[in-house]
Amino acid sequence: MSENIGRIVGVNGNLLTVEFEKPVVQNEVAYAALGESRLKAEVIRVRGRYAELQVFEDTTGLKEGDRVDFTGELLSVELGPGLLTQIFDGLQNPLPKLAEECGFFLQRGRYLEALPREAKWAFTPAAKAGQTVTAGETIGSVPEGIFQHRIMVPFGLRGQLTVDGVAAAGAYTVDGVVAKLRDADGVVHEVRLMQRWPVKIPIRAYAERLRPTEPLATKVRIVDTFFPVARGGTYCIPGPFGAGKTVLQQITSRYADVDIVIVAACGERAGEVVETLREFPALTDPRTGKSLMERTLIICNTSSMPVAAREASVYTAVTIAEYYRQMGLNVLLLADSTSRWAQALREMSGRLEEIPGEEAFPAYLESVIASFYERGGIVKLKDGSLGSVTIGGTVSPAGGNFEEPVTQSTLKVVGAFHGLSRERSDQRRYPAIHPLESWSKYEGVVPSEQVALARRMLIQGNDVNQMMKVVGEEGTSIDDFTVYLKAEYVDAVYLQQDAYHAVDAATPADRQTYVFGRIVKILKTKMAFESKDAARKFFQHLTQATKDWNRAEQTSEEFGALEARIEKMVAEVTDYA
């Protein structure tokens, strides 16, 4: 490939204007020379002889006339064994390794290989010479932690290929050639343990896309019971600051019933990622008995890291998610926060002086968000197995107002909406998902008629509460008042959940079905009270007993004892008339 060089003519923040001569490609990667180092950048607009580049680094020190090298390649990531358990920045630089080399601080212009080159992987061939294969089909596998990591026909190869030869079982590095494939034109392609893929292009090497139907248990009761997420579905968590978006994602990343979790910390606090990366190695995944870190991968481009790389980080994350999906695994991608990525787009759009849309976001915001969430899905692979990418993104609306472009664009495309409410978080009703405004299009883990009943109760309770604000408690009938207390009860013992309690933090699907069935029975029970004070007192006691029940291990004796106590309490006030 011949050299393609340009010269800087303008610097505006992280936007460079570069004069070029030979052809350049939209979205190709280029490097701006800064003394001895090179700053990575991406072509984002071309006008006449000038290309505009967003630089993934701080541009301090660049000047007019500085050299820019165009690479002709789109921004890509490395895919292969050794990704799991790693912590990458938005451009897939392994951060711990960078720390070994550069110390406490990030250093611009330092790019490291994502996958370790020396590590050897025990390859077991699956394909045979003479067999025909297509992109995404399995050549063999290597064990990666708790998974069989499939080595697949590179996703970029087209048409039918004939296997010329497959390497014998043995230890190979990621660069090791494990198969040779011949395409229709007779060209031979080498397959290595590692392949590269451009992040902004979805991986489509599967048989067909299916509709997400099976629930994905997050172990958060209000989610799984009321506003469920499906495997291969998408959902969003908008909420004002401090309402609990990050905590909700953190507990989901721990407890969700999936094979792999990819955490994309996009433009938020570094400290929150640190909690995950320091705690996970020491936590045991109940599904596997191994460290939680073995199923986790972190993409970390926090708020003080370069803005353009923030945009890249969500694409890096979703590309890696799709890669593991290709192995028949269920992957959950948690992005916190998609608003920061949208703001990165806005910053660049502003520097490009594009015509601004609402709140100065670019006009194409909606389509960009839509195509990101479209990369979630459940697919049937070419070997018939299923793999899924579920995407959950937080949204950080300005002023906590959901009527803003990012929230609105997101709501149009996702399958579930977990709207966090300031009112509920102020009242410490966590998780602060609004029980009346949120919605989900997916099936949940408990029977839907039970959910409908509880929802009706919540709505009625809310109505009574509103009415009481006008007419007072004395103007409210005892029946209405009981409805209100029942609604408060469901809220306190079921919707609310203590993220920091060892047992209460995660309620498995079967326990939810069991407990919710019991609670619905209580809601249906007709009760008689002498006075409102007596009713209130009863529900205070019942609430406390039920909360204690939530905190008891399902297998413990206490669990049964508390349940019996609750039943007895309810029986005492039941109106058998």
Partner: protein
């Protein structure tokens, strides 16, 4: 080699434009005019033209004023001799001491590699129950004090600074009233803390854009001390002035504003500063407390709003008290499990009951009859405000927790509080005066 230019093509707002070559992005220049000498910084390069923001403002600059490019970005000296000293927003001595030129360091350096951070683990005790019990401050936390102008946020900052166990206090004033500057100086002096303090003060009388440098200077110096294993507390007041200066420059540069005139990168700019708060793996730490005034008492205003998304919680100061609602310390759960086993429960229960008290107050104000429960809540709320919320209360955490139990027991029965039975058995005060 210094490069000197004399032909200014454009003067608008506090931005000047010159035709110049070989100038690097963010480089500093010295602008000499009839008004004296000011620093300026390159903020855009475009086809041979260079835009600079002039920190002392453009007033008095003539088209033939001299511009001398310095070949480096903004620097500050760093040494032990900074201790006890007071400087302006651009690092010039404001006290009578000598200028310091040793060991220059660049400001606005790269961010810490997240892999080198550790989970914060040390509580910062303040003796203020609304902080210690309900929103525990943690070493390396970044936290703003949201308040309207007129609230005693500066005295609160000073009090926390003096009570916190830190090695070094760095105060950055932005648009600080002269009286407030003297208040800080005299308070630190009187309490014997000035010798372990460094002040960078931009006052309301100084040119507005000069305050843009203050956070970066403070944090660059803090970072160096933290690397030398010092626990540094950085106080910034008022960050809204900082944001307003950014707005001013953005508007001059004809950037498309995103929200009420503020530039689209307000979040990133604020985050770049706040994220300097850190607990280093094998060295010291930086804790940042920043006053952020809310124009019109509106927390959805872009400055407090963006700040809230960046910082690890916030203290709301209203009517001279730290509000229990809205105030938040996101790091509290990292330390409050290790203080006392009842800490979290007291924290949650007392706030939930206080919320119920507020509802009852509303009902009362509408003239509704008060139930027995309401009367208990009213009693509780009043005691909570007087004995916990009042900023004059100054007691250690453990004493505050005991007080919490006492207030609860004086107003409620154990079940009414919803506290797990395990804890009430252990902590519920024995002699209960039933309500």
């Amino acid at each position: 080699m210094h490069r000197v230019y004399h032909r200014i093509e454009r003067i608008a707002g506090n931005v000047i434009t010159v035709q110049a070559t070989g100038v690097t992005y963010r480089e500093l220049a010295q602008v000499t005019s009839g008004q004296g000498v000011s620093l300026a910084q390159v903020i855009r390069i475009e086809g041979g033209r260079v835009d600079l923001q002039v920190f002392a403002g453009s007033r008095g600059i003539s088209t033939d004023s001299q511009i001398r490019f310095l070949g480096h970005t903004m620097q500050v000296p760093f040494s032990e001799s900074l201790m006890g000293r007071i400087f302006t927003g651009s690092g010039v001595p404001r006290d009578k001491g000598p200028a310091i030129h040793e060991n220059l360091i660049e400001i606005g350096g790269p961010s810490v590699n997240p892999a080198k951070r550790i989970i914060p683990r040390n509580m910062v005790r303040t003796g203020i129950p609304m902080i210690d019990v309900f929103n525990t401050l943690v070493e390396s936390q970044k936290l703003p004090i949201f308040s309207v102008a007129g609230e005693p946020y500066n005295p609160l900052l000073a009090r926390i600074a003096l009570q916190a166990e830190v090695d070094l206090i760095i105060l950055g004033g932005m648009g600080l009233k002269h009286d407030d500057y003297l208040f800080f100086r005299d308070t630190l002096e009187k309490e014997g803390a000035l010798s372990r303090s460094i002040l960078f003060i931009h006052t309301a009388a100084d040119p507005t854009v000069e305050c843009l440098l203050v956070p970066d200077i403070c944090l660059a110096v803090a970072e160096q001390f933290a690397l030398q294993k010092k626990r540094v507390l950085v106080l910034l007041t008022d960050m809204t002035n900082f944001a307003d200066s950014m707005k001013e420059i953005a508007i001059t540069m004809e950037q498309i504003p995103s929200n009420r005139g503020y530039p689209g990168d307000l979040y990133s700019q604020l985050a770049a500063r706040y994220e300097k708060a850190v607990d280093f793996d094998t060295a010291g730490s930086i804790t940042v407390l920043a006053a952020t005034t809310m124009p019109g008492d509106d927390v959805t205003h872009p400055v407090p709003d963006n700040t809230g998304y960046i910082t690890e919680g916030q203290f709301y100061l209203r009517n001279g008290r730290i509000e229990p609602f809205g105030s938040l310390s996101r790091l509290k759960q990292l330390v409050n499990s290790k203080t006392r086993e009842d800490h979290r429960t007291i924290m949650n229960t007392m706030i939930q009951l206080y919320a119920s008290y507020k509802e009852t107050l509303e009902k009362q104000s509408m003239g509704f009859r008060m139930s027995a429960w309401d009367r208990n809540l009213l009693k509780y709320g009043e005691r909570f405000e007087a004995e916990m919320m009042d900023l004059r209360v100054n007691i250690p955490l453990e004493q505050a927790l005991d007080l919490g139990w006492q207030i609860l027991a004086d107003c409620f029965s154990p079940e009414e509080t919803g506290i797990p039975s395990k804890l009430t058995r252990k902590f519920w005060p024995k002699r209960t005066t039933a309500a």
